[in-house]
């Protein structure tokens, strides 16, 4: 860089945090089969009467999750957008978020009063994370059946997500997973960031996660006020 250049010339004024107005965008990521879609459906059922909301799905087979949401979340078709990720679910939420931004903006244009948008990634691995150019906050969903070592293994999703959800606690005795170990390891790698151990089978309303989402909506409103 030439010495007479002001560093500010290189800073983009539209960086993360500068998007004003519009709905809270919540990313839901995590490995295949951990319960991302089930969680999205639960949150839509629980929060659908409180907020004007919509969902973007990134399933590898594009309509699979959208169909599941239609059946289970009582969400009308015009509130669900499915995007194709070119065999790279990870790229579509972090490195090139174009298709997801298109989908979010389409939903925002279609529903001007939108307050909440969930962007559900296609199932990926522990290194997956959302770009903050796409979402405001992100939830990473793992499950007990994947082994109680998962939180210790870390990765950006486990360590840096705004909320870590450990799903399927009801399976712990069946798969020999120690929930205390998972809780302790999560706290160690995540510091102050919250972790919730849940069972969507036992609590189909995802009560605790929904409460966390409500707090995020409130926080964003305060920030924007």
């Amino acid at each position: 860089m030439p010495p007479d250049h002001d560093l500010d010339d290189y800073v983009d004024p539209y960086e993360h945090g500068h998007r004003h107005g519009g709905p809270l965008r919540v990313g839901l990521g995590g490995p295949v089969g951990s319960g991302k879609t089930a969680l999205a459906a639960a949150l839509c059922r629980t929060l659908g009467t409180e907020y004007d909301l919509a969902v973007v799905t990134n399933d590898i087979y594009t309509t699979e999750d959208a169909d599941f949401l239609r059946r289970n979340a009582i969400l009308p078709d015009d509130r669900i957008e499915a995007v194709q990720t070119g065999c790279c679910p990870h790229t579509a939420i972090r490195d090139d978020i174009t298709a997801n931004l298109d989908a979010v903006e389409l939903l925002e244009a279609r529903h001007p009063g939108l307050e909440l948008v969930f962007v559900e990634s296609g199932g990926d691995n522990l290194t997956a994370s959302f770009s903050y150019g796409l979402v405001d906050v992100q939830v990473f969903v793992v499950d007990v059946a994947g082994g109680d070592k998962v939180p210790r293994k870390g990765g950006p999703g486990v360590t840096a997500s705004d909320l870590l959800v450990v799903n399927k606690t009801d399976l712990a005795p069946l798969v020999g997973a120690d929930l205390d170990v998972m809780r302790r390891d999560s706290a160690t790698v995540r510091g102050e960031k919250p972790t919730l151990l849940i069972s969507l089978r036992e609590d189909p309303a995802a009560t605790e996660v929904a409460e966390w989402v409500r707090a995020q909506v409130r926080a964003r409103r305060l920030q924007q006020a």
Binding site: D12, Y14, I60, Y61, T62, T63, V83, Q84, T85, G86, C87, C88, T91, A92, D95, D96, I97, T98, A99, L101, D102
Partner: protein
């Protein structure tokens, strides 16, 4: 050549291209692309038809031709509705990143969700590039994205796919070099019914990984 051309043609530029296969996904499903030889043939065919048209439009847009008219010219050269939608989707993505990367009043003259080659021409102009550069980027992008898609779908050796793309360089240069308007003022208008058909069949599928 300005290094802005490298940024513009970089497949990592976040303009949404990674989710488009340029017909390769359906060509693979139809058994038309299955190995390096058939991929090379497909890419050459794509380059010399839709690639040539894209190069012509990008060059003209960079030159400062009327953008709304060029956008209509792109429509006229794209019989498949699925391909028109794919082109506009990618154009919109390029405008989103291009506006931020190369701020310029030129962007304001574009229609909403313009065809990709038209947006590419504007991006080139905004980045200080020449019409020939814009054409080179369009020609290169007409094969680089589809080549990567084939690599992913068929789990081909990435080194082989890189070699296939690299060996198309003289053809890419030739297409870019012939992109300027002919003596009667017309733009390239080569079409390939196969690409149109593949795109239409593809867009109706529910199990596709790529947007086009």
């Amino acid at each position: 050549m300005s290094s802005a051309l490298l940024t513009l043609a970089d497949s990592r530029l976040p303009a949404g291209g990674h989710a488009h296969s340029g017909g390769v996904e359906q060509a693979v499903a139809a058994g038309l692309v299955h190995d390096p030889g058939s991929l090379a043939a497909f890419l050459l065919r794509r380059l010399t038809t839709s690639g040539a048209v894209a190069a012509g439009l990008a060059s003209a847009a960079c030159q400062g031709d009327d953008l709304a008219r060029l956008d209509a010219e792109a429509d006229a050269r794209t019989p498949s509705p699925a391909l028109r939608a794919a082109s506009r989707q990618q154009g919109r993505g390029l405008v989103r990143v291009g506006r931020r990367a190369w701020p310029s009043p030129l962007w304001d003259a574009l229609p909403a969700a313009p065809h990709h080659p038209v947006a590419l021409g504007v991006a080139a102009a905004a980045g200080g590039l020449t019409p020939r550069d814009a054409a080179a980027a369009a020609a290169y992008l007409s094969v680089s994205g589809p080549a990567t898609a084939a690599q992913r779908l068929l789990a081909m050796d990435p080194l082989t796919v890189a070699a296939v793309t690299a060996r198309l360089a003289p053809d890419i240069d030739a297409v870019a070099g012939n992109s300027t308007r002919s003596a009667d003022g017309s733009l390239p208008a080569d079409t390939d019914p196969l690409l149109d058909l593949l795109a239409e069949v593809h867009s109706a599928r529910k199990d596709r990984f790529f947007a086009s």
